[in-house]
Symmetry: D2
Subunit: 398 residues, 4 copies
């Protein structure tokens, strides 16, 4: 008795993915898995993977489960079997691809940061607004919003469980380039990456905290630093490794960025993003203090949310370690019994679920390109402040 091995109500969604590195692997798993655990209004078809190197792209497509390969993203936009373009390339290509895709009538999921500059991001947000009027939708990939503990944090704040927000503090701490011999990869070059820790990981905590508190940063004072100013060039033969005597080149992005600021609603903010926090691998730490309670999160324990409820009697009050694996928790009824953890990649699966549902319902998904633009403006304000000696810098608005 043969079965239809795809879920969904018969409708399918043809997807093309541009780029296939780290993010490509994560997105592919999400596209493959979303309908296996969640009820979707249409079934994603992993139609085409696009990469400039035909051989590598073909291997990646086989590995990740994509049916076909293209080597020119413009060809992808001409295909009728593609309804959505998933952009997983470095930031310097986002604007061109995304705008063209939207104009071609394709829905777009674009990895973060939305773009490498505010003007690019503005162009993308404009294109998204125009497209949306035609029913063509777009989303930027701040996947951490879909970590259940962060979604729960958002819900608790929105429900008033911590009252008026007074403090937001967030750090995104990594350590992968502490070694000065680590080579000059593309993420350390401004022309490719736009910025360093600020745009790569700072963008995530700006989005995640604004999402959680339901408010936006109004102004900042920031500092950036490049601790290791020259690094070995990546030799064409050896990939990431560098040999003695090889040439070096300048690191043109920040190793670390930190800033203080104010939210529009009056909360104080303290942020830090760094690739030099020795021993911290992917520590996204977020704390929110309100008049009635507090929340704390650390991605190194991503299935937990700490919650302090000031309404609890003083003799038993304390931060509760909520294991966010109950069916009542966002996204979790689709997975395993309580106490069975999920991982990093599940945030992408949840992102795809929400996106596919929005597309079917004709509702604009969030975070939108406008949300991505606003994050970009926060990052630009931090860079401007840092360039001008850490002076106060308002975040631009429309």
């Amino acid at each position: 008795m043969p079965t239809d091995t795809t879920s969904g109500a018969g409708r399918t969604l043809g997807v093309a993915m541009i780029g296939y590195a780290f993010m490509g692997a994560a997105h592919s798993q999400a596209w493959r898995s979303a309908g296996r655990f969640f009820d979707l209004p249409s079934t994603p078809r992993l139609q085409v993977l696009c990469g400039r190197d035909a051989g590598a792209a073909t291997a990646a497509a086989a590995r990740y489960g994509w049916t076909e390969v293209e080597t020119d993203w413009r060809r992808v936009l001409e295909r009728d079997d593609v309804q959505l373009v998933d952009i997983c390339t470095p930031g310097d290509t986002h604007a061109e691809i995304a705008v063209a895709a939207l104009e071609a009538g394709k829905h777009v999921l674009c990895e973060k940061p939305l773009a490498n500059s505010v003007p690019e991001a503005e162009r993308m947000a404009e294109a998204a607004a125009v497209a949306q009027a035609r029913g063509v939708l777009s989303m930027v990939g701040f996947n951490y919003r879909r970590v259940p503990a962060i979604a729960l944090a958002r819900k608790l704040v929105a429900d008033g469980r911590i009252g008026e927000v007074r403090h937001v503090r967030a750090q995104y701490l990594q350590d992968w380039i502490v070694d000065p011999q680590f080579p000059l990869v593309w993420r350390l070059q401004r022309e490719r990456a736009g910025s360093g820790a600020l745009g790569d990981i700072g963008a995530h905590i700006v989005d995640a905290t604004q999402f959680i508190v339901g408010d936006q940063l109004a102004g900042v004072s920031g500092l950036t630093e490049t601790f290791v100013k020259e690094r070995p060039l990546v030799s064409s033969s050896s990939g990431l490794s560098a040999s003695a005597g090889e040439e070096t080149g300048p690191v043109t992005v920040d190793d670390a960025a930190l800033f203080i600021g104010r939210f529009a609603g009056g909360a104080l903010a303290s942020f830090e993003a760094t690739r030099f926090a020795t021993g911290r691998k992917n520590a996204i730490r977020i704390e929110v203090n309100g008049s009635l309670g507090s929340l704390a999160f650390d991605f190194e324990s991503m299935n937990e949310l700490q919650f302090f409820d000031a309404g609890v009697a003083n003799d038993v009050a304390g931060f509760s370690r909520v294991l966010v694996t109950e069916p009542e928790h966002p996204y979790m009824s689709a997975w395993w019994p309580p106490g069975h953890l999920i991982g990093y990649e599940h945030s992408f699966t949840h992102e795809i679920v929400d996106l596919v549902r929005c597309l079917a319902a004709g509702e604009p998904p969030r975070p939108s390109f406008a949300d991505g633009l606003q994050v970009q403006r926060v990052l630009a304000a931090v860079e401007d402040s840092a360039a001008a000696g850490a002076g106060w810098t308002p975040v631009a608005t429309d």
Copy 2:
């Protein structure tokens, strides 16, 4: 340019899965994902899902990605396109299916506990030995061995990093039946489940600790208890919920089991398995103390291993919280960058990877049916001890 969307070197492995509840969902995700992240010598084909209810089985097959459906497991064994049978049914059916499958020349992966009784397990282990001589292999699904932190613990012990093992203490704590109104599901009935907390979750920590220390329990003194002796029957109409006035029935398995014991090598052991640890959802906690160091693990933080190295200078000695997400850690180079966590289901993916590799190499996978039998004998010794008033009871050996 079309691609082959399956990985592997062209060879495939036809899989049939019997049963499709909780374990079926986990196994399916593992079968689908293993080749997407790991290099496999052959590509699993999710050929047929087997369940007695055709409609439900068909829906499950569509959801989980299986090509065909059978309603009689005996039919599965007759199929030439099936090389491996994955048994995900309750324990009372394991022996019959597994022995028949092995005799039919199918490799077998059987969920734990291997069987509901020692005689059944003995029959299975014998069948496995006979089959192995013919190149037909088998494995029992103690998936927690494939949690990277537990695999790392095993490696550290085997490498002598904690010296001679003196203490093993393990607890598997859940709380899903604390409410006395929770109904009399099959897991609370001896004829279906064999035992309660002891076989369901106690089996896991017996296997995991024996795996980590590379030794076996020699004898035990145990206690078991059924705190809630009568529960509402599951009404056919309402699934898990029970209404007032409904009939009740006796709980015929243990709610909790605990025992002390000795390993063959002299280490002292303390074990506890319970479904009445209010607030603990799936807390598998394992500690091992050796003459040169110690290890501690808690599944509620499954990506971490605590390691104490007695060789470190006293002023900085302490338990290190090792985030088991480095490429050096077991299984982890296939996944994400350091600091990006994995979840419960990944243990099954790793299990499948190891199994498929063993099959290709013709090497007997572990844990074997003999390993499963030995765990069963430990559980039986605990039950015998408890029945005889907690007296000392040696664990049977061949």
Copy 3:
């Protein structure tokens, strides 16, 4: 303007302390400090310190603040300026001193374990009962009852906050004799110490858990082990250090003891006391699971109590880390503002406060000698069980 530098309402309590090692230092600090932070009905006078070595005792008295020195404890009992005798000597001397002191009309505080054997403890409990009829009171020094987090745990259980108790698990883990070259000090000799880990530290967790749950162990099955059977003799010249080539002697007490058991009220119990848990320094870990909630404590974080309240809504339920430093918490209003921790020695100060208040009120303090005897009977049942191959052994009652 001169002041009376002692607190209290003019009455004083003359105290004599027998023994002045580790416990002597802790008790002295408690006697000196109790009235500085708490309102006491009478002011302790540190009247006389007693030790066999006049020189060492005199130095200790000066260091610890005692007015006079005696070298024979029998002389202490003849003094009119002594109303209370505080026994800090090894366990083999407790019975003789305590019984004589009670007969001499002195109140007695006796360090734990109450005695080295049940018969001794029985004699002491009888003497205490006789003395109490004459208004002479006694207490055994299970100081951990006076750790605020443990006192809070007791209160929460007594108030019904965790419902019916189902599980008690406790471990007292140390590692100070893991090194096989650690010498054969008196604590490793049965004739002085009575037993090893069992009596020294196991006694504490037996008392603490029985105190918390308000119930007593009814029966046990136990194991004991001596991992290192011979150790270097302590050379008279070098104190604790041992030189190569020196003689060794047999360790005649247990290095580790573990047992399972049942409380009279039906709760299951799992206990472990060991000096071989490498990396654990003084880890007293206690967990209690009830039908409505759970508690967890670890002395390595002694100012915290973990509390799970099953009545909290599932989306925010979790173990709360209660920082036990609020004025509402037992003993804490006498100390510092919230968040300012206290330490180990404070448990003794609280013990003295409670004792002095009881003496003034004529109320028998707890834990009584009868409580100490009952703990001794539990320890004896564990030893008997271990000697008889871990069979079930009821705890003796009166």
Copy 4:
């Protein structure tokens, strides 16, 4: 046989304490206890307690163990039996008392912050320099330097164990005035307290971090905020409580202050001090990231230091939880066996020990008044920056 109940080699040090509130209780315990656990070159005599209200001061003296009382601090300076003045009054009185005491030839221990303004602090530092030339010494009471975990952190940095320091982040989080009905106590009034969270608790983390890294902040950008701008006046009759309908007054200090900055040696800094972090009672959290390792501390677990050693092999690398209770750790050999914690007040005892030893040796104790002045200048730079819109502000130097 009578004994001399004071320790030390016969010499004594006459101490006068001005003020006797919270800090007075802590200092008194430290003065009483220092010689009981540490070998001191001279024995502190608690000679005179000074307070304006004779009755209250007399009661405090009796409670805390001081021999005499004075009601005018100027009288204290005239006494020959006083060699050291311990200033525990609010900050607006520090300068006058300290300068006069130094001029009178008395050694001075002054609570932090050194003064309420930079000019006052400068005057005090000058007086201290003049006095030091005459052998009269002084110290400011940043007691957290003497928490063993912080002293250990300092030692590890000084020993090069974490390499070049790149990041310092510190927070001092409290929540005692979150309730808007909490009254307008003196700590919320600029004329008495100088500043709010910034001076009261921010001062501690500025000092502690500069101490740990052995470097000073060179410049800052800061924000301050007063969330609750009006509060009930403290009624004379009711102490801290406020009744409905009572008058309110303006809060004239900051509720929270945060800043980013740079250390002279190039490390980036992020600081936050607040009384509005709901659920955090006295959370002093300090992290330092260096090129070879990292450190993390939280006062809510004050007996622990987290240490990451980048030199450890990657498979077992992780933050070690060092329980700072070993004899090898600063100050700890004087206290209890490993694993037995100490508390908040012990930091003052250690402060007294170091001070008394310095006085005897004629060595200037640290932190000096010059150190206190430098902290004051950091705080002033933060205030100046905040007043000027968070612009970059260098920290003044001599």
